[in-house]
């Protein structure tokens, strides 16, 4: 029988990531509508604005729990490596952009775009795993 990448750990990780992403997107859209269009009061606005941040936290707790639940050491190493590469790309990108912005050479961007850089970094991490170790990082 051919091995499947859809192990329980992988499936649980993907389902939870999808759920957290949906909450994140709904939080962004909902908060923007409630704050900008409806004009809710300040405490409600802050509470609503917290939703995307909490969704991001849930996404990360899910990642850490996936790494902990992965039994195969090699696959766990690949997952950690992918996260570290993503962290490096996100932080290096933020550093360079921040310096350019400080001297008026680049426009101001909202801080949450670092999440986009992190997501790009995750793909770069997978690619690096594929190139150097021959696997994308599917759980065994």
């Amino acid at each position: 029988m051919a091995p499947t990448p859809w192990t329980p750990v992988r499936r649980r990780y993907l389902v939870r990531t999808l759920a957290a992403t949906m909450v994140y997107v709904a939080g962004v859209v909902g908060a923007r509508y409630l704050i900008s269009t409806v004009g809710v009061s300040q405490p409600v606005a802050v509470a609503v604005a917290l939703v995307p941040g909490l969704a991001m936290a849930a996404m990360f707790i899910n990642t850490i729990s996936m790494i902990g639940a992965t039994k195969d050491e090699f696959m766990r190493m690949l997952a950690v490596r992918q996260q570290l590469i993503a962290a490096g790309i996100a932080l290096a990108g933020a550093s360079v952009w921040g310096s350019l912005e400080m001297f008026g050479l680049a426009p101001h961007v909202d801080a949450f775009y670092i999440v986009v850089l992190w997501a790009v970094g995750l793909f770069a991490g997978q690619l690096a795993n594929r190139v150097t170790h021959g696997v994308w990082g599917q759980c065994p």
Partner: protein
């Protein structure tokens, strides 16, 4: 009969106190840069204070590592390189705004200056990558990996919250490089917590 095996009372490591002093001075420097609170020479003295506080901070962190057990050569090299990256970063960020005022807007020299300001930050990231590749002690590597991931989690949550509140005009704008100090603080706290938990 004396009680045996009782754990000694908790004493905050000296490095924590230096970390708090350093972070407070850094925060004051950033606030001063944004709001122009201090006049000369206090403005420059605050920058010097940040630089000076960085020295006992790095020394206390290294001594604490030595007290907790033998320090691997990779960790010694990491502490030294990180210290150099920190010092370079603070020096460039202290000097660069003054130099930038004398340069024409959008000039190649200004671009070079901006990239030079980002270089020590990127070097610090590279130092961590090299350390993880060189560290042969599995426990120390695990500690660094987990604290790095925790630092990343703090950055992603903080930037999501701040960025969103900024987008809605509820908080002031922040320069894009601020995630790096947030990452350093998150990583340090997580490392201390992981060490305390493993005792």
């Amino acid at each position: 009969m004396p009680v045996t095996g009782a754990s000694p009372p908790f004493r905050a490591p000296r490095s924590w106190l230096w970390t708090i002093a350093f972070v407070a001075a850094m925060a004051a420097m950033v606030l001063d840069a944004r709001l122009g609170l201090l006049a000369s020479p206090w403005h420059s003295l605050l920058k010097v204070l940040v630089l000076v506080l960085g020295i006992p901070l790095m020394v206390s962190v290294h001594r604490q590592s030595e007290e907790e057990g033998p320090v691997s050569p990779a960790l010694t090299a990491y502490n030294l390189r990180m210290g150099a990256a920190f010092a370079a970063c603070i020096m460039i960020l202290s000097i660069a705004p003054g130099v930038a005022q004398r340069l024409p807007p959008g000039s190649a020299a200004l671009w070079l200056l901006a990239l030079a300001a980002a270089a020590p930050l990127c070097w610090g990231i590279w130092v961590t990558v090299r350390y993880l590749a060189q560290e042969s002690d599995e426990y120390l590597r695990h500690l660094t990996v987990m604290s790095t991931l925790a630092g990343l989690a703090v950055v992603l949550v903080a930037t999501t919250l701040w960025g969103f509140l900024d987008d809605l005009g509820m908080v002031p704008e922040a320069w894009a490089w601020w995630p790096l100090p947030v990452f350093a603080v998150g990583m340090t706290v997580a490392r201390a917590w992981l060490k305390a938990r493993s005792r």
